[in-house]
């Protein structure tokens, strides 16, 4: 039996805007409102507004909330300053990635964990189990938040016109409570687009009012509503991993080139330590595969699961691919054997439905914004 897809607080608004909707992790989400390429370009050059209410929020409170997260996750969260955010991961005992997360420290004894929609229940269950021995309460907050993201170079100016919060003092990967257009919000300077921008966690009942206010305030600056399709091409250009593509339970953080998120020197044990120690040693000695960028010489688009080939041999696999609006060429992220992973390696191709299309190996990311 299949369940009806869940709808966000902004569902009626998306439909009124004529969005093409798509099922995403059990949610009915906007894929695009018009042209996904135009939406992508808007975020790179002006501003875009996203509904990300499908993301999963989990709150930990109590005197040992930080210690519980240190045990449950690979990062050192008890060392996180109040008002800051950190990118981290939750692994299983074998070191496999259960999800990648952003954790906000909202107060001394309060943390908010944001999980991918597809993994929210897995993360909630794991955190509940792993926090059992600590003085902390784990709360499922998925129903209590809608999440809007405003991303792009014009986003600070647009947001400033709607809030008294000190946005200039708000660093990248930091969050503070404030009011936007009269709506109480956790204002975070985070995102998944490679641009400057903000994520606004608000009560679902306030979501539509906030969306309208941002739309009106951003109209003159060229802000447009954006769907998940351009979110994917934006993050791909920015070289950011996506769970289920670059990151899976079969992958450790070290396999994905993200070993830096694992903090072995934190106090106490943590789930996956032993397996991750071995993974770190393997990666340092001789990484079997590396995550690289590929840029097409032709125009055919590589997709997840396509084989990377060299000299007639399979040397890797594409994990994500799309036409890059910014580069004007198809791009891909792929796991490639170390022997073919150096930027500039010759003779690398992607098997696109039987044709070996030549690709250039590059370091990630494909795109980095000017600061």
């Amino acid at each position: 039996m299949t369940e009806a897809p869940r709808r966000t607080a902004l569902d009626a608004l998306h439909r009124a805007l004529g969005a093409t909707m798509t099922d995403f992790a059990g949610w009915d989400m906007p894929l695009r409102y018009g042209s996904e390429r135009d939406e992508h370009v808007a975020v790179r050059t002006r501003a875009g507004l996203f509904d990300l209410s499908h993301m999963g929020e989990i709150t930990l409170t109590g005197p040992q909330a930080g210690r519980a997260l240190d045990f449950a996750l690979v990062g050192n969260l008890s060392a996180l300053a109040v008002g800051r955010a950190r990118y981290t991961m939750i692994c299983d005992a074998a070191g496999g990635i259960l999800d990648d997360l952003i954790v906000y420290r909202l107060a001394d004894e309060e943390f908010m964990v944001v999980a991918n929609a597809s993994n929210a229940q897995v993360v909630l269950d794991a955190l509940t189990e792993r926090a059992a021995g600590f003085e902390t309460a784990v709360r499922d907050d998925r129903e209590n938040y809608a999440l809007l993201a405003i991303q792009g170079p014009q986003s600070p100016g647009i947001l400033k016109s709607l809030t008294d919060a000190d946005l200039d003092g708000l660093k990248y990967y930091a969050g503070l409570p404030g009011t936007v257009a009269g709506v109480p919000a956790l204002i975070a300077r985070t995102g998944y687009t490679g641009e400057d921008g903000f994520e606004l966690f608000v009560a679902p009942a306030d979501a539509e009012r906030l969306w309208q206010a941002l739309t009106e305030a951003g109209a003159a600056a060229g802000l447009v509503p954006c769907g998940l399709s351009c979110r994917d091409t934006l993050r791909l250009e920015a070289g950011m991993p996506l769970y289920g593509h670059e990151l899976t339970t079969a992958t450790t953080p070290f396999d994905a080139g993200l070993g830096r998120v694992v903090k072995f020197d934190k106090e106490g044990d943590f789930v996956g330590r032993e397996a991750l120690t071995a993974a770190a040693e393997r990666a340092a000695a001789k990484a079997p595969r590396k995550l690289v960028g590929l840029i097409a010489e032709g125009r055919r688009v590589p997709r997840a699961g396509f084989q990377v080939v060299a000299d007639g041999q399979v040397v890797g696999e594409v994990t994500s691919g799309a036409p890059s609006p910014t580069l004007g060429k198809p791009i891909a992220i792929a796991y490639v054997d170390a022997a073919h992973a150096e930027p500039g390696t010759k003779g690398v191709a992607v098997d696109i439905r039987g044709t070996h299309e030549p690709y250039e190996v590059v370091a990630l990311p494909f795109y980095k914004r000017q600061r």
Partner: protein, 124 residues
């Protein structure tokens, strides 16, 4: 969206122009173009190729997916739209006009091609 009355339509969402001297023009409908999203790559059949009604004769690649291009009729390809090869976005911006895909000298056509009204009802 409106589907031009003078065209005929296949269940695979191609349109076929009126036949002149045995030759008709083929494209995909606005409905199909919208469903694909931004088209970024078009592989069209080459002049001289033989196409068969209902069989794949090329591909249209969009941001998110790749779709086979089917021919609504059987025959010999007598022209392919180089403008679309150079600028695949034409398929989205002008599916019934500048975004046409190929011209075919018809040897056989299926009996189930639809009128504009029938196709509008079919595509919903």
């Amino acid at each position: 969206m409106s589907n031009p009355q003078q065209l005929r339509y296949s269940k695979e969402h191609e349109w076929l122009s009126a036949v002149e001297d045995g030759v008709a023009t083929v494209g995909i409908t606005e409905f199909a173009a919208n469903a694909l999203g931004d088209v970024v790559f078009a592989q069209l059949p080459a002049v001289g190729d033989t196409v068969t009604a209902g069989e794949s004769c090329g591909e249209l690649e969009s941001t998110k997916s790749v779709s086979d291009l089917y021919s609504p009729v059987s025959g010999e390809v007598v022209a392919a739209n180089q403008d679309v090869v150079d600028d695949p976005a034409l398929v989205n911006s002008a599916p019934f006009e500048g975004g046409w895909l190929f011209k075919v000298k018809i040897t056989d056509e299926p009996a189930d091609l639809m009128s504009a009204d029938e196709y509008t009802a079919f595509a919903g």
